[in-house]
């Protein structure tokens, strides 16, 4: 599983044991094409699924670029539409689309994708961030929580029934609006990954969030400082390492 350094945005590529690929968010520009191009076999032009957590430009723009280059079997999304040109492009692209809600699940080669959020109509949420699709991936004993840009209210709602997880993708690039202490205590991750741009104007990840993770002994990986981060798991203890892709 790759946490790509795509600047100030999210892009995560999951590779299953059988060589299937799922891309979760695409980052703010076309950088993800270079990342995907270096991680997929050079002859492969198909992605088994895309997941759009929410339609903000820093998540959807790269996915629009990917749709232009790769055959995609299905796009999972909340169904909430945004205002960016990239989201309109994605909405009009001829591809199978499925709206997902909490409780939905799909599985690829033994990797299980459980949708934990949104738990009701995403259009009813006050903000796009709050309606982010939250995924829990499990493979054997390994579990990974991908949180989109949810904020404290959604984190608290999730914390009540959240099973412990090995790896947490920190919500909203490490903004102070997220990473609520109660949520971190419920998730109990051993590792956390923040996807943020080097020298970003928002100061993400903010020191407050970094301190919270440190206080809980959570090992933090940052794409702004470490570059691309790869996670390997054979169903047991996951191994994370910084492995910046060459280009």
């Amino acid at each position: 599983m790759w946490f790509f350094a795509v600047g100030q945005g999210d892009a995560v590529l999951v590779e299953t044991p059988g060589g299937k690929h799922v891309l979760i968010d695409g980052g703010p520009d076309r950088t993800v094409l270079t990342k995907v191009g270096q991680t997929l076999p050079p002859w492969k032009r198909r992605l088994d699924a895309l997941v759009l957590t929410h339609p903000d430009a820093d998540h959807v723009t790269g996915l629009a670029a990917v749709l232009e280059r790769y055959a995609v079997d299905v796009v999972y999304e909340s169904g909430r539409r945004g205002g960016s040109g990239a989201d309109r492009f994605l909405a009009e692209w001829d591809v199978r689309r499925e709206s997902v809600r909490a409780g939905d699940t799909f599985e690829l080669d033994g990797v299980r994708f459980d949708v934990l959020w949104p738990d009701y109509d995403p259009r009813a949420f006050a903000s796009g961030n709050a309606a982010s699709v939250v995924l829990r991936l499990t493979f054997g004993e390994t579990s990974i929580l991908l949180t989109g840009d949810i904020e404290k209210a959604e984190e608290r709602a999730l914390a009540a029934a959240l099973p412990p997880t090995d790896v947490l993708k920190i919500a909203h690039h490490g903004s102070a609006t997220s990473s609520d202490p109660a949520f971190l205590d419920a998730a109990q991750p051993a590792f956390a990954v923040v996807q943020a741009g080097e020298g970003n104007a928002f100061g993400h990840p903010v020191p407050l969030v970094v301190d919270r993770l440190r206080q809980r002994g959570i090992r933090l990986w940052r794409t702004d400082a470490d570059g691309d981060v790869v996670l390997r798991a054979a169903g047991g203890e996951p191994i994370l390492e910084a492995r910046p892709l060459p280009f």
Binding site: G7, P28, D29, R30, T31, L33, T34, V36, G37, Q38, L40, P42, W43, K44, R45, A57, T61, A64, A65, E68, R69, S84, G85, A86, R88, F89, P246, F247
Partner: protein, 496 residues
């Protein structure tokens, strides 16, 4: 001096040289002085010469014409206060960058009112896509372009007719033109081909290969672009004279066998014109295209052109079109200086490099790189404040592999046109070679000493050095190399 005047008087070719050179000098002076009335001075000098030194009358007259062209005032473009709704027609190629699109808008209307002459350079989000000829509208606070360090970006853009920029747009919408223009059709075809190449090769190899074939590097990651710059290899991503000469030579050879010489000449001219549009009609491509057109025309009449005059002819045509390019456009300066280096320095320096093997074009590539690098040093120092130290070595290593990669990419593209999956399989050799070359570029660029800072003042000693090198080389070898240069490309042409 007397020998020079006598040479001009006795040879029509040298008379053209004098007239064209005078026009270029006049253009440069005109853009610096910006006072059209001063054109009376060379006109007066020319009139005096009609009686006393007839041979110089025409050059003085063309000096005045060039001066007037250079000093011609730019149109006024009133900037609106605050944000305004801008509308206009997209002209030229829309540059697809990593995180944005850049378009040039003509026939601009601000809040519904026409502005007259002057174009706007606009940066737009990646989506929705904008294409040549589209009617584009957006909200924006227009700004005047400003210099970037020592680089007169404002004057560079003004030379291209761009008098306002917009870096942050809102609500942009594009409507396709009811009847696309010929350049619009050609550029749409190019976009389609580049898109197909993306099926054959994964990124960043696809953008790299597209850059080699059509020019353009803005789709690459900034770090990789920086590596190209530090290793002195950016020129291979700029559509260059090499591309024009390679494609025209290959096509001419193929067409001459099937359709005969004269039809092949006409078809080659059409191809060169079409390629120039697809490659963005930059100074390097236009220079090579104009030179190729003259050589092809000469070939029709079974006459050979003088190489120096070919170069001057191209310069005059480009300066009539864009007079400010002479002093403000690095692409223009680099292209012409590199070509002078190839034509003058290469033949003089080659004997000193006999110890290098000729195989795979190694010797030719090395000498050409050194020659082009030596003459472009002043421009690099003046505009960019840095020169690549590893450039000769990097070019020696990379350049011989560029034509094979272009050929493999072309094959992959052809396969991708038939079917994307076929393109992906046939493109594997191109992908492997592209990855290898990109790794080499990254490695050269990562060397701690790859690039040395060169303050703007160092352009002066570099200019003196370049002049001395040309003077010395011109004395040693004849500058009249075969005019078939532009039709018989070699690896060396890549630098121009």
């Amino acid at each position: 001096m007397r020998r020079l005047l006598s040479a001009i008087e006795s040879s029509p070719s040298r008379r053209f040289t004098a007239v064209a050179a005078a026009f270029c000098v006049g253009t440069g002076l005109g853009t610096v002085v910006s006072a059209p009335a001063l054109a009376v001075l060379p006109i007066a000098a020319g009139l005096i010469c009609v009686r006393r030194c007839r041979v110089l009358a025409l050059p003085f007259l063309f000096l005045a014409v060039g001066f007037l062209r250079g000093a011609w005032p730019l149109p006024n473009f009133p900037l609106p206060e605050g944000e305004a709704r801008i509308e206009g027609r997209v002209v030229g190629e829309v540059e697809q960058r990593l995180s944005s699109q850049r378009a040039i808008v003509a026939d601009v209307r601000v809040d519904g009112a026409p502005t007259g002459a002057g174009r706007v350079l606009v940066r737009l989000p990646l989506y929705p896509r904008v294409r040549t000829d589209d009617r584009l509208s957006f909200s924006c606070r227009l700004q005047r372009p400003e210099p970037i360090g020592t680089f007169p970006y404002d004057r560079y853009l003004a030379g291209r007719g761009i008098l306002a920029v917009c870096w942050r747009t809102f609500d942009h919408a594009a409507t396709p033109a009811p009847a696309p223009s010929v350049p619009g059709i050609i550029l749409a075809l190019k976009q389609w081909l580049v898109h197909r190449l993306g099926f054959a090769l994964p990124e960043p190899s696809a953008t790299f290969a597209a850059g080699l074939i059509f020019g353009g590097s803005s789709g690459l990651d900034p770090e990789l672009q920086d590596a190209f710059s530090r290793s002195g290899l950016t020129h291979i991503l700029a559509a260059s004279g090499f591309n024009v000469s390679l494609f025209s030579a290959l096509f001419y050879g193929w067409a001459a066998e099937r359709f005969g010489r004269r039809r092949a000449i006409v078809l080659s001219m059409v191809l060169v014109a079409a390629y120039s549009v697809t490659a963005g009609a930059g100074p390097a491509v236009l220079r090579a295209a104009l030179m190729a057109a003259v050589v092809l025309a000469g070939s029709w009449m079974r006459r050979r052109a003088d190489t120096a005059n070919l170069l001057l002819f191209a310069a005059v045509i480009l300066l009539v079109w864009r007079p400010h390019a002479l002093l403000t456009d690095p692409g223009f300066q680099l292209s012409f200086l590199a070509t002078v280096g190839l034509l003058v320095l290469t033949p003089a320096w080659e004997p000193a490099f006999r110890w290098l093997p000729k195989r795979f074009g190694i010797r030719e590539s090395c000498v050409a790189s050194l020659a082009a690098t030596a003459l472009t040093l002043p421009v690099m120092a003046w505009h960019f404040g840095a020169v690549s130290v590893v450039s000769p070595l990097a070019n020696l290593f990379v350049l011989p592999l560029v034509p094979p990669l272009m050929a493999l990419s072309g094959v992959a593209l052809a396969a991708a046109i038939i079917h994307p999956l076929l393109g992906a399989v046939v493109g594997l050799p191109a992908w492997a070679l592209a990855q290898f070359l990109l790794s080499a570029v990254a490695a050269f660029g990562a060397l701690p000493f790859a690039q040395a800072a060169a303050p703007a003042w160092s352009a002066v000693p570099f200019t003196l050095l370049s002049t001395a090198l040309i003077w010395h080389a011109a004395k040693r070898s004849s500058s009249s190399s075969p005019s078939s240069f532009v039709l018989l490309p070699s690896v060396s042409g890549n630098a121009a």
